[in-house]
């Protein structure tokens, strides 16, 4: 790995015996002890380890929760509450699991932005990146399935919205939808298969994580300079340190700090990341006022709802679905969309500005996803009152007013003449959330499909350091520290 020969030497009779039959200790030693790791990794690089902890936490707590959970429409809601009330430390296990999902996504988004910034998706790490996107997709699927299990109002109606999206796919959509739901509508059969799949997918994630780590250990870690660690013996020694103890302790510190934030949510605000409506048992007949997904899916939800127009024969709903899935699909092609040979944005001053714009756009998309699309952000003018009535010739007529007093006087006067009249509000023009979401969606796709491909061909990157070793020394000499 990294052209690095194994330095593992079995010491005892047993390990020698084992090593010649199944060199699993050697694999672990080479991967997590002696593995040469660039010495300049910053804290943004600790999120891989944090994510491993998140996955293990979710699987362990999830297995225990599954022991007590009842996957029926009549029993699910009460069984989750029973876990919190009567299972010893059930409240802890359940809160870790539900907040753990949020923490998992928080970490994965930071991990992905890190990869975007330092160009970790570029050769020779394309497969590593693609496997990461696969994990992200599986995570979203798992989170969605898991959110349905408590069988609250948001569980049910959220599931309705998402399965409805699949129904928008032409020709096969309805069949897939019925197959997913196990019938014509969401019911007991849906809950049971979602539970089954929710238990399955995390192990698929774990499998892809193993491939992800494998694909990481072939080329070795990227690093903030984007300059590869040298392969020759002397260069490798100068550029890297063994993973253990250098990165076990650094990752360990970051993991514990992350756990402090995690624990703050679990113990002091366990429900703040969820929606209150999900503590109301699912009722198909009562639809919540605003159906919103969990926070980590909001940016994609905003993209879905931003498409309010048809293009040719494709209607807005299908376009929205295409845009939403496209927002993730585009990540698969990113290694070939970014044409720059320079990996790290430290040395790409122009691209860096666009990158920060992309981060802001993603956060704002989340804001749009949470808001009502029709709510104004910047009102232009004030709402007017329109009185509709039937005029003397029997035609529909309207009269517009600023003041309510004048409008109501006019209406009452018409009413007293025996004419039907009513007042309605004419909304003033405004820059609304849907408009912002459209602009941001445009930027989201432009970043990947236009900016990165063109910029790589046209920009003038700064000089990269000759090696990690040189970069570290330069960094140490208090040269203007490149902001990252």
């Amino acid at each position: 790995m990294s052209g690095h020969a194994s330095t593992y030497e079995p010491k005892t009779g047993f390990t020698k015996w084992l090593d010649s039959r199944l060199p699993v200790v050697r694999l672990a030693y080479d991967s997590f002890v002696d593995f040469p790791t660039p010495k300049n990794l910053n804290y943004w690089y600790t999120f891989g380890g944090i994510l491993a902890v998140c996955l293990m936490t979710q699987i362990l707590t999830g297995v225990v929760l599954a022991m007590h959970y009842t996957a029926t429409v009549d029993g699910a809601f009460a069984s989750v509450e029973r876990i919190m009330r009567d299972v010893p430390y059930g409240w802890l296990i359940r809160y870790i699991h539900s907040n753990g999902a949020s923490m998992f996504f928080l970490a994965v988004y930071i991990h992905m932005f890190r990869g975007l910034y330092y160009g970790s998706y570029k050769a020779p790490r394309e497969v590593l990146w693609i496997l990461g996107v696969v994990i992200f997709l599986l995570m979203m699927g798992t989170a969605f399935l898991g959110y349905v299990l408590p069988w609250g109002q948001m569980s049910y109606h959220g599931a309705n919205v998402i399965t409805g999206l699949i129904g928008a796919v032409p020709v096969v959509g309805d069949s897939i939808k019925a197959w997913l739901m196990g019938g014509p509508s969401i019911g007991n059969q849906t809950l049971q298969r979602f539970f089954s799949l929710h238990y399955l997918l995390p192990f698929m994630i774990a499998g892809v994580v193993i491939l992800h780590i494998w694909a990481l250990h072939v080329p070795g870690n990227n690093n903030p300079t984007g300059v590869e660690a040298r392969k020759d013996k002397e260069g490798l020694k100068q550029d890297t340190v063994p993973f253990h103890p250098y990165y076990t302790v650094k990752d360990g510190f970051a993991i514990v700090v992350f756990l402090i934030i995690f624990a703050a949510f679990v113990f002091y605000m366990p429900n703040v990341l969820g929606h209150a409506d999900n503590y109301i048992e699912a009722d198909p007949l009562v639809t919540p006022a605003h159906i919103v997904p969990e926070w980590y899916l909001l940016p994609f939800y905003a993209i879905l709802r931003a498409i309010t127009f048809n293009i040719g024969p494709i209607d807005a709903k299908l376009l929205g679905v295409i845009a939403m899935f496209g927002a993730i699909a585009v990540l698969f092609f990113l290694p070939w969309l970014d044409t720059s040979k320079v990996k790290s944005m430290r040395y790409r001053p122009v691209a860096r500005q666009f990158f920060f714009g992309f981060v802001v756009a993603s956060l704002l998309l989340g804001w749009c996803g949470a808001a009502n699309p029709d709510d104004p952000i910047i009102p232009m003018g004030s709402d007017k009152l329109v009185v509709s009535y039937t005029d003397a010739n029997g035609n529909e007529a309207t009269q517009t007013y600023e003041e309510y007093a004048a409008a109501s006087t006019f209406r009452d006067q018409k009413m007293s003449e025996g004419v039907e009249a009513s007042i309605a509000v004419e909304k003033a023009a405004a820059f609304r959330f849907v408009h912002l979401a459209q602009l941001l969606t445009l930027y989201y796709f432009a970043y990947f499909l236009v900016i990165l491909p063109l910029l790589g061909l046209r920009e003038n990157p700064k000089d990269e350091p000759a090696s990690i070793h040189k970069a570290v020394l330069g960094h140490d000499r208090a040269a203007p520290a490149p902001a990252e």
Partner: protein, 351 residues
């Protein structure tokens, strides 16, 4: 410093989550004066208040509202309002046993001849429900289903503050007036009770039917309230010039999630906040006689019932906070140790 940056990134994500909580057009719930004792990382429930709240629940709320997820034994378990260290097993707690025994419930097990008898509840039984099922509850309440109160503080934005604000936030009598409807005026527009965007308390299909059924006969009078005259120290209602027509069997409350625009006679651009619910104001001074001698004002009872429901929504909350403190201390010490280990291990490596 670098790592401060990633914490701020985390907070950014949390801020997005917070915006997801944006509620509809009801007033923001507010705390009672002096706040809640249970707030904050070390706040504990005011158990005397929770005990009084249980009395209010039994004597007032329990007439219509079930609490299916609670059992009598919960009252005497650690963290519960009647926990007594002398009886670590709540099932032996005489107070809890007497609370249970005061309720007659339909046994869940058949007797010798296969019939189901009424019997006094045991500590292991769930709280007695006022109605055998949802259909009976609707039938007895004009079509509206009184929501189960087990997790109500978790199921509403604002939690205990919402309960407190709602229960004590009905407009006072003096803003209401009853008016005869002139014969030629059609009440059809008014009878269409709005039903959009409400939770379990919402006016549902059943309620609509009963309202519509009454329409052909035509009510001869209507209850109207002047919103601008509502006296509140928390919100300025004076800007809502106009009248709200209260549908029959419905009660206006500014803290209720909903939409009153269909019932609003006034500027439609300034529709008052809040909604209608089928529950009339429940509390009046002296409605219960507190066993501990506390004066039963509406304010006091509202605080007490909110405290009780706060406990009921999460009986393990005090355990959660005390465990949390130990975990936090442990993690902080661990982090400090790792920080120094990190610096020691890396001391000879430029990075």
């Amino acid at each position: 410093m670098k790592f401060l940056r990633f914490i701020s990134a985390g907070l950014g994500a949390a801020a997005i989550a917070a915006t997801a909580q944006a509620a509809g057009g009801s007033l923001h719930a507010h705390e009672p004066e002096g706040g809640w004792a249970f707030e904050g990382p070390v706040g504990e429930l005011d158990m005397a208040s929770v005990q009084r709240g249980y009395q209010v629940y039994r004597e007032v709320c329990a007439a219509c509202h079930s609490m299916r997820l609670l059992s009598y034994r919960n009252l005497g378990e650690p963290g519960g309002p009647f926990y007594d260290p002398e009886y670590p097993n709540a099932n032996n707690n005489p107070l809890v046993k007497s609370f249970a025994a005061q309720d007659e419930i339909l046994s869940t097990e058949p007797n010798d001849v296969g019939d189901y008898d009424f019997r006094p509840a045991r500590t292991s039984d769930p709280f007695k429900s006022p109605y055998p099922n949802d259909a009976a509850a609707r039938a007895a309440n004009g079509g509206a289903l009184p929501p189960d109160l087990s997790v109500i503080t978790k199921a509403r934005h604002g939690g205990a503050s919402y309960i407190y604000s709602l229960i004590s936030g009905y407009p006072s009598e003096d803003v209401f007036s009853t008016r005869e409807i002139p014969a030629e005026e059609t009440p059809a527009a008014e009878s269409e009770a709005e039903a959009e965007g409400e939770g379990a308390e919402a006016v549902d299909g059943g309620e609509m039917e009963s309202a519509e059924a009454a329409a052909p006969a035509g009510p001869t009078s209507e209850t109207v309230l002047k919103v601008s005259e509502i006296d509140s120290s928390h919100y300025d209602f004076s800007k809502y010039k106009g009248e709200l027509v209260q549908p029959v069997g419905q009660y206006y409350n500014p803290y209720m999630a909903g939409d009153v625009s269909a019932q609003w006679r006034g500027d439609p651009r300034k529709t008052p906040p809040g909604g209608f619910l089928a529950m009339p104001p429940q509390l009046s001074d002296g409605r219960v006689s507190y066993l501990d001698g506390t004066e039963a004002t509406v304010e006091q009872m509202s605080i007490d019932i909110a405290n009780f429901l706060q406990w009921a929504g999460e009986p393990k909350q005090s355990q959660r906070k005390s465990t949390g403190l130990a975990v936090m201390i442990y993690l902080l010490i661990f982090a400090v140790l790792l920080w120094f280990s990190f610096h020691r291990i890396w001391r000879n490596v430029k990075h």
